[in-house]
């Protein structure tokens, strides 16, 4: 089919509203962040050009620590999400009675407003009266109450687990869909040849899942890197900054302290990291899709 002029014009007419919307609400602010990062913008009336000072300030502060923490936090959260997600999907993929119900029961953490799930976890982490500490004491794992959100090391893992909990349903349902897209004949052929269930999983399911695994980990990586609500509601980045990720730090600087310029510089840094993930993602997916279709 030859590409006619009218077709191209029609395509652009269809695209124009969405393009304009995103240009105003996302692209323009992106450029604005970049410009702001070189100014001392704040609540003051006047704004001055300050060059690289905001960036120098970042690297003279504890921000390097924040960057490393963000990566560690993201790494563990994404890995655990993928492991639990693939486990859940392979369980839900079995042809057992009740599986339709089990699939529905997987969805709530994803569907319910994030804040509500986070409140529930916040209460469960409560040291004196919360469920986790209470059960650990009951079964003798600890002697005294553990206030999970009051100590840096436990708060770090507590926020990860809550993030995993919110992210797992999507990973599970996505991996389940991917498993169901594997042609049934492959399993039947292997079964006819006498291959056991575990062998079929390892030799058919897992290899064919790899493209979906990569896609999902990349998407999950980006969402996790941007995760704000969970840490904000549970700890506000505390205690003494031990759950402060780049997003939380940026929020504190820009919205909390109203240092728009310095906040913008941090945001630009986040954008650079995200762009790197983004490029890696497109690289991988374009390679995968060219392998699939052509």
């Amino acid at each position: 089919m030859s590409v006619q002029r009218s077709t191209v014009i029609f395509a652009w007419i269809l695209l124009l509203p969405a393009v304009l919307y995103v240009a105003v609400i996302v692209a323009y602010p992106l450029v604005d962040t970049f410009i702001l990062s070189f100014t001392d913008a704040s609540l003051k009336k006047t704004t001055n050009w300050v060059g690289w000072i905001n960036y120098e300030k970042i690297f003279n502060s504890t921000f390097a620590e924040v960057i490393i923490r963000t990566f560690v936090w993201t790494f563990f959260s994404v890995s655990i999400k993928m492991i639990i997600g693939v486990f859940g999907a392979s369980m839900l993929n079995s042809a057992v009675p009740g599986r339709a119900l089990f699939r529905v029961l997987t969805m709530p953490p994803w569907i319910v407003p994030m804040a509500i799930g986070i409140f529930m976890w916040g209460w469960m982490y409560n040291g004196q009266f919360g469920m986790i500490s209470g059960l650990l004491q009951r079964f003798g794992f600890v002697d005294s109450p553990v206030a999970f959100l009051a100590q840096g090391s436990t708060a770090f893992w507590a926020t990860i687990i809550t993030d995993v909990w919110i992210g797992v349903p999507l990973v599970t349902l996505y991996m389940l869909a991917a498993m169901q897209s594997i042609p049934q004949d492959l399993y039947e052929a292997a079964w006819t040849d006498g291959a056991g269930r575990f062998y079929r999983f390892r030799r058919i399911t897992l290899p064919l899942l790899i493209p979906s695994l990569i896609t999902m980990s990349m998407l999950s990586l980006i969402a996790t890197f941007n995760s704000f609500d969970i840490i904000w509601i549970l700890t506000r980045g505390g205690p003494s900054g031990e759950t402060t990720t780049m997003i939380i730090d940026t929020y504190h600087t820009a919205i909390g302290s109203k240092k728009y310029g310095e906040g913008a510089a941090r945001a630009v840094l986040i954008c650079i990291f995200l762009s790197i993930f983004c490029l890696a993602y497109f690289r991988v997916t374009s390679r995968l899709s060219s392998g699939e279709n052509r």
């Binding site: 590409v3 077709t7 191209v8 029609f10 395509a11 269809l14 695209l15 509203p17 969405a18 393009v19 919307y21 995103v22 609400i25 996302v26 323009y28 992106l30 604005d32 962040t33 486990f87 369980m91 057992v96 529905v104 029961l105 953490p109 994803w110 569907i111 319910v112 407003p113 994030m114 804040a115 509500i116 799930g117 409140f119 529930m120 209460w123 469960m124 009266f129 919360g130 500490s133 209470g134 349902l173 389940l176 869909a177 991917a178 897209s181 039947e188 079964w191 269930r197 979906s212 941007n226 995760s227 704000f228 997003i247 939380i248 820009a254 919205i255 954008c271 995200l274 762009s275 983004c278």
Partner: protein, 286 residues
């Protein structure tokens, strides 16, 4: 599905036990906070703030489901706000996305691949990254502390996934349909409206549901930052009203949470078959 040989899916008893144990462990992790949250909503405050910890409420009651309306009189308004905002967001997203997804699904022109990539890249920048300029933008438009301050950014960040999902769906509609309509002398616009839209309706419905859920679930950061008026606050921000000066009224907070999510859960319960089959269909047929 039903035509496959039954033998391959027949489990031995120990396999069945293993699978059910796995499902039980998995669902315990998923559902434990909800069970605990529900039990908390049944406990009187005095019992919540007492040790040792008790899982099962003693003389539990639905009292908190009554008092929550008294403690926070504006609560009904928060639920309404959440529904209202999500409805508007979903409508606007569909208006923007349906034509765009069709264009991406059908027409290849110079730069179309890059443009699609640019749309997907929007997903990367959601969250706190754009808050400062967005705040200034909202102030310039004069929409700070209105519904628009929550709706406008909400729409932008739900567009990418909606375009992606719908484009995938529309790509599976046979091209021959468009071409047949075209040969019959139909215009592009007529083809889209009379041929594609009716066939794409299940896909559009799935996108509408996921967008609505997304909007309902994620109205936090913009509402927190761009709106300080309680009359426009959506549910996630409104729930902070149960955080008293001294302590959180946990039983009422949990009761309010369940009341707040009940309408959405009912909708999802009735649409879930549609939702799961729609999402899985997207992956099944390549």
């Amino acid at each position: 599905m039903s035509t496959q040989p039954a033998m391959i899916n027949r489990y031995r008893w120990y396999e069945l036990i293993g699978i059910y144990a796995g499902i039980l462990a998995f669902l315990t992790f998923i559902l434990a906070p909800f069970v605990e949250g529900f039990l908390v909503s049944l406990k009187p405050l005095s019992q919540l703030f007492s040790s040792p910890y008790r899982f099962i409420p003693q003389n539990g009651s639905f009292e908190a489901y009554r008092t929550m309306w008294v403690s926070v009189p504006g609560f009904a308004r928060y639920i309404f706000n959440s529904f209202f905002i999500s409805t508007i967001v979903t409508t606007v997203v569909l208006i923007l996305v349906v034509p765009a997804a069709y264009a991406f699904a059908r027409f290849k022109f110079k730069g179309s691949g890059q443009l699609l990539g640019a749309f997907l890249a929007v997903n990367m920048f959601s969250g706190a990254v754009l808050l400062i300029p967005l705040f200034r933008l909202m102030r310039t438009f004069g929409v700070l502390n209105t519904y628009f301050a929550i709706i406008v950014p909400g729409v932008a960040f739900l567009i990418p996934s909606a375009i992606w999902l719908l484009r995938t769906y529309m790509m599976r509609i046979p091209r021959e349909l468009d071409e047949a309509a075209f040969v019959d002398g139909a215009s592009h616009f007529y083809t889209l409206r009379r041929v594609i839209l009716p066939i794409a309706m299940p896909g559009i419905t799935v996108v509408a549901i996921t967008t609505f859920i997304g909007s309902y679930a994620q109205q936090f950061i913009y509402a927190l930052t761009f709106n300080s008026k309680t009359e426009y606050a959506p549910l996630p921000v409104g729930l902070f009203a149960y955080f008293g000066r001294q302590e959180v009224i946990w039983n009422e907070l949990m009761a309010a949470s369940f009341v707040g999510i009940a309408p959405a859960m009912i909708v999802i319960f009735f649409l879930q078959r549609y939702l799961v089959s729609g999402l899985t269909a997207g992956a099944v047929k390549q």
